[in-house]
């Protein structure tokens, strides 16, 4: 059973709709203690880094997520949920993230391109990871964001060019993050969710 974390901010229902469509067992969880029973965890998110981290901290999810990550459970952060997996964010000042993947989250330098980076953009595969199994170079995914991860290539599975390199799919051991919205990225996104579910089952 995959638990989708409800901490008061996020596109939970879209994620749940996608999992239901794929017939992947899931539930929405607002209680951090329940994460102990989860086989896999999805951390969604829309909004600002600082506000969302405050909500995670105050609801007790920060500690619970860190414990489950340390126990080796597959975790997938989506969009802002992916950004919070990193050590620090710089949206409205410096804020500590969950620190599950080395790196920080900084404003995109669009170099004249529109910010937010919004719409369908193509992926380049840098390193294969279990979630990228079905991704080919040039596959399109749907992004909506103004900040990006700044992390070592070692943690980047796929990236997108938007003036600069935007990490799209990141990973570190059992922790995964998608900057784009797999639940809104058509077949490419659905395959990523399916691959995450396989990881949870095996």
């Amino acid at each position: 059973m995959i638990h989708i974390i409800d901490y008061g901010a996020g596109n939970l229902f879209s994620v749940q709709n996608a999992l239901n469509y794929l017939q992947i067992e899931n539930k929405i969880t607002a209680n951090p203690a329940e994460l102990a029973e989860a086989d896999g965890i999805i951390l969604p998110g829309v909004g600002a880094f600082r506000d969302a981290m405050t909500m995670l901290n105050e609801s007790g999810f920060t500690e619970a997520i860190k414990e489950q990550a340390a126990a080796g459970k597959p975790i997938l952060g989506i969009c802002l949920g992916m950004q919070m997996l990193f050590e620090k964010g710089y949206e409205f000042g410096e804020t500590d993230g969950l620190g599950l993947i080395p790196g920080k989250v900084v404003l995109i330098d669009g170099g004249g391109l529109k910010i937010p980076h919004m719409g369908w953009n193509d992926l380049n595969v840098l390193h294969d990871c279990p979630l990228s199994a079905d991704i080919a170079d040039g596959d399109y995914v749907y992004y909506v964001h103004s900040y990006r991860a700044d992390t070592d290539d070692a943690y980047i599975s796929c990236y997108t060019m938007y003036n600069e390199k935007i990490p799209g799919l990141v990973y570190c051991d059992n922790v995964y993050g998608a900057q784009f919205h797999p639940e809104k990225s058509g077949q490419v996104g659905m395959n990523i969710l399916k691959n995450f579910a396989k990881l949870v089952r095996t």
Partner: protein, 252 residues
Amino acid sequence: MLAKRIIPCLDVRDGKVVKGVNFVGIKEVGDPVQCAIDYDRQGADEITFLDITATHEGRSTMIDVVRNTAKNVFVPLTVGGGIRTVDDFRELLRAGADKISVNSAAVRNPQLISEAADKFGSQCVVVAIDARRKAEGGFTVVVNGGRIDMQMDAIEWAKECERRGAGEILLTSMDTDGCKQGFDLELTDAISKVVNIPVIASGGCGNLDHFSEVFEKTGADAALAASLFHFKELTVQQVKEHLRNKNIPVRR
């Protein structure tokens, strides 16, 4: 490279897709959920529902349509038509819409744009602007299907929408809408030059070249069409293939 988006639009009344035929009345053409699924399969980058229902019952039917679509379609879904309050936004977002488009309510109460952007984020606030050419030059904002001229400069209004937190502009030319002679390139270019948020061109598309033209000659980020796709004159696939041949980046 960021892809140019192709967005089919479905007019929905009382839970059914409807379309005016040859300007003589409205004809029901199908189930919106099934139509949205079909467009998704054709490769639509986004789907827009325009609710043209006037009644309260029709409204709740629309919520169900959105909910059922969101369970079956996994590309962004935009809903517009009759949105007046932040609560309308909340209700549709909870039902599974990704973006909400506001038109006359935003013109009459621009504060709605700022409030919705603050509450739900700019990414879900689309301001629909219906514009018409003025005899003396320039473009004016009209509402109620073009019946009321708000005496507002469309370019200034677009800038204000961005300033207030709109995430996107859905720009319809009342001069070209329904004429199938092509998008209003001058209007689309004028607006996309002054804002730094995506502009969706709408109104007037009649053939494949009109799609490539709007991307080649203006800064439009997306193109929206309704009847052309409804009546299967073109499929989204055909449009994308055409754009690809013209070296315009589209999602495959």
